[in-house]
Amino acid sequence: MTERISIVENILSANDRLAEENRARIDAASVFSINLMASPGAGKTSIIEKTLPLLKDKMRIAVVDGDIATSLDADRAAAAGAQASIQVNTGGECHLDAVMLHGALNQLDLTQFDLLMVENVGNLVCPAEFRLGTHKSVLIASVPEGADKPYKYPGMYRGVDALIINKIDLLPYVDFNMDFFRRGVEALNPSVITFPLSCRTGEGMDAWINWLIENTKR
């Protein structure tokens, strides 16, 4: 005889529980951690590359790089001055999840660091669904992607704490309606902090660096 059992259990609850465990480990070592998300080509690795030299005398930094394959990004982070850089190859998965970060944390002595930067897989959909346990989520938008992205990927824009608008040096050359972009962002996420910058020219990097320093000190 068929019997119905009522459950109501969140399908991602196992991931969320592990994310809390990750957070507890990161907190226990007094490390500030960020989850950097963006579409492919927005400049995640380049921003890490340009951020590291500006911070490496002030704090000890570990980078965890998520990619479907290769260790190119972790190599770039190491070359730019990360004290540790760990590559996580997701083997086809489109995002990092708490299990993958957990594995990466096992390879790090967190007490040796002040800041942990996690570079997620380039993707504007899935990473928002999988919490990692990091303190702040940072989304990198870039001017050539177009101003309609908040409208097309609301899940991503809604949940982040900070938003970098990268490649502003290209504003004179591409059709990017900043007002339309900002209206979409404000509607979805009115309290998000934004950092318009160009990691290529260095314009606007100060505010981003200061934000990292302030949060890491806390």
Partner: protein
Amino acid sequence: MHELPITQAILKIALKHANEANAKRIENIHIVMGELSTNVDDSVQFYWDIIAKDTLAEGAKLHFRRVPAELQCMACFEKYRPNEDELLCPKCGSVGAKIIAGEEFYVEAIDID
């Protein structure tokens, strides 16, 4: 491509509750999925047929109940459906609405024998 880990998570939840109830087999699994939550559907059933093989859940049918998205304006408390190209409150034009429905993603119930 994250349907496989999601299918595995659903299977784990279903098997845990079926074992606790000493079920012989799982016939149906009822899943609630908000419009704004992760977009998986047919492919989950496809993976299911592979990963549930030789478990209590082999042959179980997955049923998805969709929950439409609903927002509530925090200025005038108007409730409304999100519109693709306009994210402001349709009544007062304010920003920063709260999502009150559409982010659900959970196993609601299983039917066991």
